[in-house]
Symmetry: D2
């Protein structure tokens, strides 16, 4: 299939590689061209060229602004994606942005799917992502073979694309909640003299036998926040988007508010370049531990 793929960061690079490997005719675009290194596919000069003449165009960008930058304007996706072409947005973006995308593409005679993904860069490279998809049934059917190439499983949530974005954001909120809870628990048992590795072994062998506890427990145990697998400013953005969506719906989320404050504390104290798991070290710091 003729596909455009826009956004070759840590996540997008692996996803694009898997699409290419599966034999699709992929045209790449990234703002800084050198990110395409190692991908055996043509590189477009503009987002519009990556979309022009394609059945589908994927976007996998760092935030809403980056997505809007490749969408609008004479060189953007909207101006070049063919009538009936399908934009599959995998980025973690605001619910309101997804609603805008749905309307804007419809007005332009194009189609739009939200398909944000769960997984860190290694999962993207290994085609082990989980995909949360929402949109018109026909569009999802069309995209399904590609989802199968980039992920280990996909979930169809709704016919309203932005629902998938709300799910993705709330999923990231749940992950950060785990980081905070583990950070507090480790601060407590650690200061109480308990061996933290044995503690995590117990947790993750029993009720908390899930990847998210294993991955973030290990990172917190080793305090290995650099280089980041998922950078703190991106996590901060996601909590901001969760709170924005919640504000639009009048849903108070006190735990999300706590997480927001944690990210601000981290940013104010040199955390810009760390993994988002570093907010899990703040409880120990507040308790006077290292």
């Amino acid at each position: 299939m003729k596909i455009g793929f826009i956004g070759l960061g840590q996540m997008g690079h692996g996803m694009a590689a898997n699409l290419i490997k599966a034999g699709h005719e992929v045209t790449l675009y990234n703002r800084s061209r050198e990110k395409a290194v190692g991908l055996d596919a043509p590189i477009a000069a503009t987002p519009g060229q990556a979309a022009a003449g394609k059945e589908m165009v994927f976007t996998m960008l760092a935030n809403d602004a980056a997505l809007e930058a490749v969408l609008h304007g004479p060189d953007g996706i909207l101006a070049h994606l063919p009538q009936g072409g399908l934009h599959i947005s995998c980025s973690t973006i605001a619910v309101a942005t997804a609603e805008m995308l749905e309307k804007t593409h419809a007005k332009a005679g194009q189609r739009y799917l939200s398909a944000p993904v769960f997984g860190r860069p290694d999962a993207a490279a290994a085609a082990k992502l989980f995909i949360a998809a929402a949109g018109a049934k026909a569009d999802i059917d069309a995209a399904q073979p590609l989802f199968d190439v980039i992920g280990q499983r996909s979930f169809v949530l709704s016919e309203t694309p932005s629902h998938a974005n709300l799910v993705k954001l709330s999923g990231n909120f749940l992950i950060v909640s785990v980081i905070e809870a583990l950070g507090e628990a480790l601060a407590l048992v650690g200061k109480g003299g308990v061996d933290k590795a044995a503690y995590l072994e117990l947790l993750t062998s029993t009720l908390f036998n899930a990847p998210v506890y294993k991955i973030y427990g290990q990172i917190l145990l080793e305090q290995k926040f650099s280089p980041p697998g998922f950078a703190a400013p991106l996590g901060q953005k996601d909590i901001r988007l969760v709170l924005q969506a919640a504000e639009a719906l009048n849903v108070p989320l006190p735990l999300a508010s706590l997480l927001r404050d944690r990210f601000l504390t981290l940013m104010a104290n040199g955390g810009e370049k760390l993994d988002w798991a570093a907010i899990g070290a703040l409880a120990a710091k507040d308790s006077g531990q290292a």
Copy 2:
């Protein structure tokens, strides 16, 4: 082995049954005698009689006060457990109480182990508990065959008994954190129009593929808080004990503080008889949903 077993509530009943079934010579005690129904073992008239002449005595009680009530006095464990006898405390009690027990038994020439358990009543009945044990190596070795009878796995954490209690309390804190996080996430996606069952299916098939998310996700989805598997006042007690232990160690735990407030709100609004998972419904309530 000759064993005393004190405390035949929802948890203790199943544990005692498994010890009896394994062929141990168990003497039971419970404040209200009728809780022993269905257990084929003699019932002592006092805690002291349940401990007298035994190699080991288990206690599985609802809280610190209940434990202290069977410990002290002329009819208590301390006065009757033989020299060298081993008290295995499985209750979820305060760290400070465990420290007191260790000292008090040592002074009386007796031995003490903390062995709190993870699991709900059905797991106790099915011998599927997880046991967090801490104490002298010889004592743990002696208790190990009994742990194997009541649980699916035991973890030796430390030679300091109270460490096991700190681990148990912090584990319960982590469970309540999951309830709160799920409660907020469901309030958000639910008010946003997402199908909550599909949402939970996605979460628990992917990063959150752990019993705790499946169990509490399902309870929250069905709003099935009665009858309680684990009653809210017991959960409230555990968060209180976590915060007490944290205060003794000067460890601020803002998430635990939030959970404390949630339990108070629940108690103030008729939640006394509900499952502790009912705090997970407060976020939806605050957001104006049913």
Copy 3:
């Protein structure tokens, strides 16, 4: 002096009345013309006409969007205020908006002052406002005689206009903090059986002998939230702007986060039309009172 006055809500009406009474030649503008009732001054058809040919133009609007609506476009202030004309913005707006205004007016050869005010509508009518002013010294000197007409006292804070907006927003944060603290204290002593009126009398006669405690203590005591003196959505907006300013500066404000959640709870439960003091009733509600 020839003055334009734009925005005739509860606050602006009183301020404009005082400027007219002091003998200034005031041209009024409000989106809905009928708000000018009772003011003896000409009404312009557009914001631009209210600014055209004036030495100064005041704006006193409900939010940033309303201010931007009268600023831009062919009928806006920017297009009509004379070269060297002074825009005095009294609205409670975002720090970022004030920074934009400073730059935009400078580019247009105009001058800009931030002069947000403290006080409720009755204080505006009685010329009892407090004015927090920031901007170039010459501009403040020019505006001072008018400040003296609308307020009881003005404070010059800085030569950077947006500093006054940050001060105003943080002042409103402090007021809402008082509402929350009083709300929690009243929930506690009230449920404990203490006479709440006697309690407030004690507080406001001693350490808390300040208008803010008297005003909001009385409102909370009487639960008199309607009609609103200052509507809850405006208070919610101010906390949002405080948190935005704090986020831009990487300053975590956990108390402000709590207040944000309170406003969301209020909005989700029918508080749209109430006074912002109504968030102070939520603590009692959570405790099962009323």
Copy 4:
């Protein structure tokens, strides 16, 4: 009048001095005798001797444990205060302790009043305290002349003594709320470049024109936390007692929970010897300032 006065700390010393100066026949007691330096009155060897043969005995102690230590036992107040003698407790103690005192004294044929005070040591020395009194009318009438000697004003709250303690505790909660709110506001405007002294001048000249804002604003501005006027561990204790009273009544107080965590952070980071206002510096610290 013949009076006993027990507890000669920073507060009690000034109160006792004023009672002596007014001509009362005061017998003093303090655990460490040297605290009585500068007071022209006999010093008893035990609390009981200070109470024996007196119409009234005041207690002004640091916490509940200190009060219980002078109350019970063969040398305690209970054993020696005459039948009909009146115990006036001015300490900041738990609501539950006051309830116990009321019952215990009644059983012993003695009378009991709660009369906690508001004010720092300089106010105690200057007889400028505010007194929150609760108890039987006859007892308050009897104590009134002495209240007039130690304070500038007294408030009669209720016939239930413990109500005065609840009021005192909630009053201290309000003070700490002011410290926290000011701390957050100063962190915000300070990082935003506003002159903090000018900011406080504005606040305390207008809506926040109350002693509590002036006193704590100045302390926070100067970061002058040592020597303490009121030590942080005492403030921590008061918030603990507020939360205990609130828990007994099922009243969630999220702001008090935040303050509890602030005190823990302070204690974990060397704040043991500082003024309680030092929690107001934590917001600035979290934001990366100093």
